[in-house]
Every structure is written in C-alpha cells, then in structure tokens.
Symmetry: D2
Subunit: 279 residues, 4 copies
C-alpha cells in the first residue's frame, strides 16, 4: 500500500505542484487531485513534471460530473470528464472517485435508478481510459436523517449497487471513517477481493458515542479511536496494494501551518502503518 | 391490437384449455397464463392444441421468479423460469410480466439495486427465448403508504428503472388502471415508442375520488370512469399492436357465472374498441 | 419519413448554413452534418439559426471517434465526441452513425470484440444526450475481399452484433445500396421494429450484375435499378418515420453545379416517394 | 492454491464418489465434475456426502450449454444449466468453465457476436448463483487451421472478448498447455488481477517444436518441457488461490490403472509445487 494525501485537513498546500512537493517531502507516495486540474493539457504537463521530479503518483481524482441532479447538469459535465480522464490516464492514474450521501430529498428508488444509468455512462467513459470508478459509502448517523428519505450507507448495500451498475471497473472507495460509523468490522473486508477496492481513505474519529460522530469533525490519522491498522491489515490480506489517502474533513480550515499538519499526518501514518506491519 | 383476457374477474373459467375455448367463444384473441403451466412439456402440448384449435394466442405469462425477497428464493425459481420460458417460446409467446408495488418495507434504494440485478438475470434468460419482460407500475394511492417506504409508481420512474436494468427486451406492462390512478394523460403515451410497451391491461375504475380508488375494486372494461379508448388510441398512434388483456381485480370472487362475465367483458371491449376506432 | 440530404454527391454546397438553405430550397427536410462542426458552441448556434430559419432538421451526424484502430486513437476522440453530442443534442438531433466495412486486415473475432467494447462506450456516451447510434452494414461484393479477412455485411449479422453490443440505443443505418448489394428483399425489413432503424440512406445502383456494383459508383436516387420505393414502403409499414437521406458516393467530384444536382436529387425523391405512396 | 483433478488422463476413476475418494487418497484437494451430474438433487446430495467425508472441494464444472451452434440447441440447454448451477452452488462451487476453439467454420465476427450474446446469458444465470464463468483459450497450432477461419487463441484476445461480454463474473481458465503453445511468458500473467483468473489447468507437453505440439498428446504434470512452476509462481504473485486442476488429454484411454496414474500425477504435482515454493 502507498501512503497518500488528499488536500482535506492540510490547510493551504498551494498549487498542485507545491502540494506534490510537500507530499514527497513528508514521505507520501501519492496525491489525489481535482478533475478540473486534469482537463487542460498544459496543466497536465506541469503536474506530470512535478510527479516525476518528486517520485509521487497521482492516486485518484474526484469525479467532476453532477450525477445527482438534472440531466442537463449531468450532460454538461461529460465533455470535461472525458478531458479529465484523458489527462489522468496520461499521468498513469487509474482511479476516479465520488461519494454517496446516505439520505436524499428525492424518492430513493427512482434516484438510484437514475444514478445507476448515469454512473454506468461515467464508468464506461472512464473505462475507455483504463480508469476505475470508486463509490464511497458515507456512514455518520446524523447524515442518514439530514434529508427526507434514507438512501444507503453500508458497504454491502453499496456493493449491491455496484453490481446493479454492472460495470466491472466500478468498486468501493473504502474510508475507515465510514467503516467505523457503520460498525463494519475489519474482518468483513476479508470477504472481498482486492479488485473490489478502488481506493482507500484514512483518518480518525473522536472518542464520542458512534451515533454522535459527525462527518466533518474528523481527526488526523492515528489520533482517535478507529483501529485503522486493523482495516489496513485486512486490506493487505486480500491483496490491496493501492494508495491509502488521508482525508480529514474539518468544520473550519485548520489554523496550523501546512508543514505542521503534514508532519503530524506523517507521524500518524508512521504509527498506523507500523502497527499494521506495513512499511 | 388484440382483445385479450386474464383470468382475473372471470370467476371459474376452468382449465387452461377451457379458458382458451371460452375466450375464443366470446371473440377474444389472446389469453394470459401462469408460468407454472408452461414449464411441463405435456401441458404445453395440450395448451398448444387448444390455442390452435380455437385460433387464440398466448399473450403473456406471469413471471414466476421471486425477485423481491431473498437470494435463495430467487435462485430457487430460475430453473422453473427457464422451463416456462422454453414452454412459452414453443407456443409463440413473446411476453412475460411482473408488477412493481409502490411501497416497500425494505430500504428502497438497496431494494431497487437488488431487484435491478435480479431482473437483469430474468431479462437475459427470457431474451434467450425471444421473450420480453414487462414491468407494471401500480398506481392506487392506498398502496403507496401501505408499506414503510415509498418505492415508485409513475410511468416515467418505471421507464427510468427499465433503462437502469439496461436490457433491451424490458419494457412496460401498461395498465389503464394505473395510468388513471397516477393521473397519466393518454397523450403522455405518445412520447413512447411501441417497443417500450410489452403488454397492456384494461379494466375500469369506479366514480370515486381518484385518491380513494382501491386496487382490488376494479370494474369491468368500459363500465367506469376511465377513458380506456383514449389510451388505446394513443397506443395505436405509436404503433402498439399487441394484446390488450382485461384484468379485473375484485375483493372477492365474482358470483356470476363465467359465461355471464365473459359476455359482459365482451360488451365492454366492444364499446371501448368501437370508441377507439379499433375493430 | 423526411426527405434528407448528406453532402455526398452534391458537389460544393458551401458552408453548413448554405447547405441548409439549399436543402430547404429543394424541399429537403433534414441534413446530415459532420461531428466536428457540432463540437464548438458558436458554430452550433449558427447552425441552429440556419435550421430554424429554413425549417430544416439535423438528421444525423457522423461518428467522429476512431473505433477501428488503436486504443490511443479511440481515447483521443472521446472528448470531441462528448462535445459533438452536446452540440447535436442542443440542435434536437437524435442520431449518430458510422459504417462497418465488410472485411478487415485484423483477425475478425478479436477485432469485433474490441469494437464491441468501444462502440458500447460510444453508445453510452451518446445515450446520455438522448442520441442513438446507427451502424451501417456495407454490401458491395468487391469490398468483401478487399482486406485479408471477411468481417460482416448482412443485416442479420449486423443485428446480432447490435445485440452483442447490448445497448438499447444502437440500431441500423439502413442504406438501400447495401440492401440491394446483399440481396436483401424489402419484405425482410418487416421482421424489424421501427426502433431498430436509426437512420436511412437512399441512392441508386447501375444496371450491372450485382456482384460488380462498386461502392463509389452510385447513382442519384431513382435513376438506377434499386426499387427504393419498396424499401420505403416496408419501412413505412413498420412505423419508421425518421429521415431518409440521399448519399451518392462517386469516384470523383461531380462536375455539375450543386443546384443542378439538388434539382436532380429532388426529382428522384419526388419519383420514389410518389411510387412509395409517401408525400 | 489447491491441487485439483479433472478426470482427463486418469482412466477409469469410477463414479463421482469414487473419484472424490481417490483424489483425496492421493492428496488432491479439489475435483472438477460434469454439469449433468449436478442437475439432479439426489446426486448432488450424494456428491456432497463424499466431498465432506473426504475433505475435497468441487473445483469447477463444465459448461453444459451449446453456445456454438443454433439458437435451438442453446435454448434447450438453459434449464439444465440452471439446475446444474443450483446444484453446484449447493456444493459451494463457484466456477464453471468452457473452452474456445482457435478456428471456426463460421464467419468469425458474427460467430463471436452470437457467442457474446449467449455467454452473457450464461454468465448472468451463473452469477445469480455466485458462480463465475471461465473461458479457456486453446493454443495448439494445428487447431488454428483445422477449421476454415481463424478465431482467437491468445490470452490477450480472450481478455478483450471477456471485456466485450461485459459481465464481471467472467474470466480466464488458464491452462499451462495453451500458455506454452501460444508462447505466453509466465511474467505476462503479472499484468492480471487475481479475479481475472477463474480456474487453472496443469499438465505438460512433449519436447517437440512448439508448432508441432498436439492438443491431445499431453503429458502428465511435470513430465515434459513446460515450466509449470513458473506459471504457478506468477499466479501466486497476483494472488490466485483457487484450484489448479490436472487435465491430460490423450489420443487414447490410458492403459495403466487409475491408481498408478494418480500416483504419477501426485508425484508430478509434488515436483512442480515444490519447485514453485508452494506446499
């Protein structure tokens, strides 16, 4: 597995090129970027130069298509997605991810049907570039009732949906935060095959009752109550060898300097990876 | 379009062979049968003989696979479905139908995802035999709240789901009762292509507020407030030329003799077809 | 059915806007354009103004993705296809077409497998914009042996392939020239449903043995031996109501003025449509 | 990986129950059986008892549907396939395999299109039972020209076809004989993911020029020139942990006693597994 970073929780890490340099400086092997930054050939070339200079990989990019609302919004995003996929593929990236909220104001069944159609288009388009699509289930309890109807939030329901989408390049974005908040034991991962995991997020949760854990009050890796090492060991056992990217969602931008936060993140990864027996 | 019959609302019409003879005697051109009766070669041969003798077609058969509950139940039905499909195909039948309740005690989104997977298997299997699968949306208001969560009940949501299933041999079973109870104007049908309509049900509704129309208090064709002729004209305009089968769901078995009910049904079809300009 | 034009065989009909004006002037109701012209919003707006001014529709556009050669070439075309599809959809166009050569220098089976994957991506992407993909089988005998291995050239084999692609928005581009050169009787069309026909090409063939008919020695509509009216009648019977676009492939650019050729084309359509009982 | 057996090359190993007992006696952990034997519940119960008694698994069963010829033959096999899949699933089996001949008398492209449709149905049906479908590419040179047209025989072309089939439960049956005869280096396997390998066959080839290796003149495992250990090591590296079943096709039934052949097979597995560092 590769130590990875998203920008979430790191404050201002500057341009993509500066972010890549910082990641490398603190021992991270991959970064996740935004799709929009990959849709322009010149920016792709600049990112490529940084990645090569620092020996960092592009782990994943965020899906930039609006699959949740209108057909018009969905269609409007497809040319940009094609361009971003081309850019990502040129950088050797094979992952694109999006998240699935656990409740919705729409009727859930038609919403899932509509989303199934759209994500199939997305998966086909990404697949043409050798890119897989990761769907992130979202666990915190407060979000399950934040909108009118419950949607889905468990790993198993997400896997069922992935089967319904029916494209072989769709899998999970597995975030330890959502595993923790849905009560998913690490051993449950061992039912899976490595190819069902597209990407992994890591972070930590405060020591409050799990029902009270909020989505945007995450802790840095290794600083809370989640046994991230146990999840990583399970992923290791099934053969997952991709990036494990930190994502720390906070209620407000952090006040510490980026370097301080990177150092702290590195220390957390060091502890968790050591506990998991990963180097 | 062909005048068709289901057994619903006709009382005891006897064996399939007797039902076929009665249908012919009252000018009906097709009957709908149960899958179980098509899964045994000897029974298929007997039905074939009756159909040929009376010049009646097998319009459709009911899907005999449990796609709504457990994997075990679903799997258990597949060998019988394969056998029924083989029997139906041997009789020249190209339609198999199931209905979709408008509410569910399961979480709707995972339920739809699971059902999508299963109905895709069903559609693939039926497709191997040249058979299409019709999904019937169910409109009566009382059913929308009869189970814990709303599922789906409109034609458009059903069409979206059909797209999500993603098999070209899946379409609608269009029942005028559900069109009426969902407030679907006949002109809305003209947005469709003929191939999106697998089968049609006809019957009538009592003159009560539409929100109070109950699913099992249907009237015989042409005896209520539904403008069935207008729906048939719209179907005619888009080129639908398959069966239109009467389905009269009642709270208790009818007390009139089958022949009386068939005569009454014929009279209703005569009126509606004449009004629609169909012969 | 609508009288339509491609540029093929008309000489220099000028810009798209001039082509549209000319088409209207000679009673044509639709034109087919190139994808590249639809990928830029300003050009789309200009085309829209011309279409609206002259009451002409955009019938179809040519698929601008290289699905026959390398993955790199295929990928390179997808962003442009997304842009063209967006432009075409903005103009109300619902058809995109490509042709299938009857022989190949590649091993046919892997070539078809590869093409199946790619055309599925194309169909999914087009489908997001409400556009269907038409595959044109190509009949002239000389092309069947022009490359090392036979591929496919009959309507039925193309329909089988369309089923294998497995997307419900894929159908045939039916060209009377290829029907004629593959010996397909008009009555064979009556086995189809209207939705299986995405687009229609019309033209004519010289009075030589059918084995000697060359792909690029076509005649103008109604000037040769093809009974185009019989094909149009069959299409009418199954409910096809889309464009019928003239495509006259010639060994060299025509020397007559465009207006002369349009007049001639109009006269041919007049004869064929009259014979078919179409207005 | 698990040591497995097919009946091929073992002479008369008796009933399935006897075969299972013999396999266990010689240290094999799985056997492959015929679909027909799994379609009857009583036989399944008897096989289950034997498997449990001897601690042997059902590795795979042979696809019993005729996907290569007519629609009628294909349809006729589906009810039996459903029954066999139910039986296999009841025994915990997750693999069903078929082979792909490298040449065909049919036009290759339409043949592949037709087969794609049919194998998709098969895969969907198997998938409902949690069973994967393995396609075996067949390498010997003499078979590539035995029928009129070349079809496909390389691993990569087979993988492309698997993508074209488009069902996530379809993968390769990898036979070292076909790897050897197509010149596939063991390292090529490392491009794959474990889930792309459904099943593995092992055996050996005589020391003749590779172009002269015949499909039915195979040697017992470890007795010829194939470096089977190198293939197993590559499979190990990508995480394959399923059965490795011996399949020795011979020009005539072997004359040695089954026990002699089993002892010889065991010795071969001992050598190859030891060389590969597997236990």
């Amino acid at each position: 597995m590769k130590r990875g970073l998203t920008r979430a929780g790191l404050g201002d890490v500057g341009t993509n090129e500066q972010f890549i340099a910082l990641a490398a400086a603190y021992g991270f092997q991959s970064v996740d970027l935004n799709a929009a930054d990959l849709a322009e050939p010149e920016r792709v070339e600049s990112i490529r130069a940084s990645l090569e200079q620092h020996g960092v990989e592009l782990g994943s990019f965020s899906l930039n298509v609006e699959w949740r609302t209108t057909d018009e919004a969905f269609r409007a995003g497809l040319p940009l997605l094609a361009a971003a996929a081309a850019g990502a593929a040129a950088l050797g990236c094979t992952r694109c991810c999006t998240y699935v909220l656990p409740a919705t104001d729409a009727l859930p069944a038609p919403f899932l049907a509509q989303a199934t159609k759209r994500l199939r288009v997305v998966a086909q388009l990404l697949g043409a570039y050798g890119i897989r699509l990761g769907l992130e289930f979202v666990g915190p309890h407060h979000l399950r009732t934040r909108w009118q109807h419950p949607f889905l939030w468990t790993m198993d329901d997400t896997l069922t949906w992935i089967d319904a989408i029916g494209e072989s390049n769709v899998g999970l974005l597995f975030d330890v935060y959502h595993a923790y908040t849905t009560g998913l034991a690490p051993a449950e991962l061992e039912r899976l095959s490595a190819h069902q995991i597209v990407h992994v997020h890591i972070n930590d949760a405060p020591d409050v009752p799990v029902e009270e854990v909020l989505d945007n009050q995450r802790l840095y890796t290794g600083e809370g109550v989640i046994d991230a090492a146990a999840y990583l060991q399970a992923l290791q056992r099934i053969g997952y060898n991709g990036p494990v990217a930190q994502e720390v969602l906070l209620p407000a931008p952090p006040t510490d300097a980026a370097k301080t936060l990177l150092e702290r993140s590195k220390a957390g990864f060091d502890r968790v990876f050591a506990k998991a027996g990963l180097n």
